[in-house]
């Protein structure tokens, strides 16, 4: 209470002793609040800034994690990264995975969300079933699917195909089919989640918009393209951003489903970084990959943001 009176006095009588106390009080109060930012500053320094700096530095050296004497090698690691066949294969696959899951999930999730927004019988149960695959660990689901798609007796898909009289399909051992399988399982796992995201946006569209459009004589197709889609544009931006960055960063699903095989057919960038860096202790090379990877993710985020901004404005 004493201090508060000083505050008042300090304002009323500038230049007197109480003002000094006010200043000190203000300073103490400011520092007390600044302390609240201390933990996150520690997290930022220890878990982001310093390791990021180290990654940048290692990427220019021949550091192998053991010998203390590390040599500056310039861009040698970057050159090697781009000439390494496993790296090129994983770059190609990671892009394929990120882009195709983004396209397919978006193409399925928007109509699904519109359907889930209608008042049909069993709607809540259907919503829950579609959403559920996003709840458990995708790593566990990947392992389950590796059994379902296997040519062994556990492979239900091949059992069904066998019943129709066709031969067993090498879902996970043929390079192209393996790539396709990872995308299919990913689509199965993510479509419901993104549909619920779209649904949340759909529910915020006032229904009188549709009534007005119907009175103006707009048919269902026109209502979709001129009303629903423009109003969903922000949701498309968010959903595609999550799908694209998630796809580029992906590790769990291809790894648990196919282990990255056959060969390098479904090896992701994340997997190569981890294997090079921690498995083979080639810190320099792995760090160069990590830097390239980060720039790639940032570039995609920026590009996607710019494109969708422009599209949103045009709609």
């Amino acid at each position: 209470m004493n201090i508060d009176r000083n505050v008042i006095v300090g304002v009323a009588l500038p230049g007197t002793v109480p003002r000094m106390q006010t200043l000190r009080h203000w300073w103490r109060e400011a520092m007390a609040r600044q302390v609240f930012l201390l933990p996150i500053a520690v997290v930022f320094l220890a878990l982001f800034l310093i390791p990021l700096g180290q990654t940048l530095w290692y990427s220019l050296t021949d550091f192998n994690g053991y010998s203390r004497a590390l040599r500056f090698v310039g861009i040698k690691n970057y050159v090697r990264a781009f000439t390494d066949p496993s790296m090129i294969a994983s770059l190609g696959y990671t892009f394929f995975y990120a882009v195709s899951t983004t396209i397919v999930v978006t193409a399925l999730a928007i109509p699904l969300a519109i359907a889930l927004n209608q008042h049909f019988l069993g709607r809540n149960a259907v919503r829950a079933v579609f959403f559920f695959p996003a709840i458990p660990s995708i790593a566990v689901l990947g392992l389950v699917w590796s059994f379902i798609l296997s040519p062994l007796p556990s492979g239900a898909v091949n059992t069904v195909i066998g019943l129709v009289g066709l031969g067993s399909v090498p879902w996970l051992s043929d390079p192209m089919l393996a790539r396709l399988s990872t995308v299919l399982v990913s689509v199965w796992g993510q479509t419901g989640w993104h549909a619920i995201l779209y649904l949340a946006y759909l529910q915020s569209i006032p229904s009188d918009f549709y009534e007005a459009a119907a009175i103006d004589g707009a048919n269902a197709r026109q209502r979709f393209f001129h009303l629903t889609l423009p109003l969903l544009a922000p949701a498309v931006t968010v959903s595609q951003m999550l799908l694209l960055t998630g796809g580029l960063k992906v590790f769990d699903l291809p790894y648990t489903l196919t282990k990255g095989g056959p060969g390098y057919a479904t090896t992701t960038l994340s997997q190569v970084i981890i294997r090079r860096g921690l498995g083979e202790a080639k810190f320099g090379e792995a760090s160069a990959l990590a830097v390239v990877f980060m720039l790639l993710v940032l570039a995609v985020v920026v590009a996607q943001f710019a494109i969708s901004r422009r599209l949103e404005r045009r709609l």
Partner: protein, 275 residues
């Protein structure tokens, strides 16, 4: 018009339920085969078992240290989410009450940090943990997950902007200290976002695979997801046993889903918007 509409809805209902059945088929497949012997499961993978066979559950509980993994996962998730919410909410409160130029700059730096993928800092982080002997330790993993506090900070900050802060000023006049205000007034005020973010991060940590695979190695430290992963080799032939382990591991997740469905969807929407 009305009749046509109800016919359409009936058709939609049938289509959607059929699609949902196809989507849910893998889960039916997992569950139904835990109740069969290996031979029966191989002969009719989709059929219902003729008699209830519970040996898979008994043998999985006997051979896999599920309880240990569950406790590890529970500890890691509980400690990490608590830490993330604490650090994130403290930072948001500090940032909102002290808007200096330096703090704004720091806020922008946090936004950049938020976009750095984990894979890009992984190797130095591994070395750092190795130096302080926290590799292959549950607490080391908690340290790694505390990086998630930056995500929490952004969501909580967004929510705090909508909270009327006159209450806080009133509390200050009543003689509450800065920490007292945070603990007794700010935290209860932002409870809804704490729950939403907490649920969101719980699902991340509980389900995470990449961090435990990289940082944990000894069997006693395994999380549930790692336990399932290493059981693939063990149950490669006896796949009904593998499905049984999966069902046991998924059980708490299903309970969590049913209890928290509303918050999960909230988290999805706000996390999606901010993320």
């Amino acid at each position: 018009m009305h009749r046509q509409n109800s016919k359409m809805l009936a058709l939609l209902s049938i289509t959607m339920i059929a699609l949902a059945v196809i989507m849910g088929l893998p889960f039916y497949y997992i569950i139904v085969n835990t109740l069969k012997t290996q031979q029966v499961a191989g002969n009719s993978p989709f059929g219902l078992p003729s008699r209830l066979f519970l040996d898979n559950y008994l043998s999985v509980f006997r051979t896999v240290p599920i309880l240990r993994s569950a406790l590890n996962t529970l500890y890691i998730t509980g400690a990490s989410v608590f830490l993330m919410l604490l650090i994130g909410s403290m930072a948001a409160y500090g940032m909102i009450t002290r808007r200096t130029a330096l703090n704004r700059l720091f806020g922008a730096a946090l936004l950049l940090a938020f976009m750095v993928p984990f894979q890009s800092t992984l190797i130095p982080l591994y070395q750092m943990l190795a130096r302080v002997h926290l590799v292959d330790s549950l607490n080391g993993l908690v340290v790694m997950y505390s990086a998630g506090s930056i995500f929490c900070y952004f969501l909580i900050l967004g929510y705090m902007r909508t909270v009327p802060f006159e209450i806080i000023e009133a509390a200050r006049i009543d003689g509450c200290g800065t920490f007292g205000i945070y603990w007794r007034i700010v935290l209860p005020l932002i409870r809804p976002i704490l729950i939403t973010v907490g649920v969101f991060q719980t699902m991340w940590v509980w389900n995470d695979f990449i961090t435990p695979t990289v940082f944990l190695s000894s069997p006693v430290n395994k999380t549930l997801v790692l336990q399932v992963y290493s059981a693939v080799g063990q149950f490669a032939i006896n796949w009904p046993a593998f499905m049984t382990l999966t069902v046991i591991v998924l059980f708490p997740v299903v309970v969590f889903f049913i209890a928290m469905q509303k918050h999960i969807v909230n988290g999805l929407v706000s996390g999606g918007i901010k993320g």
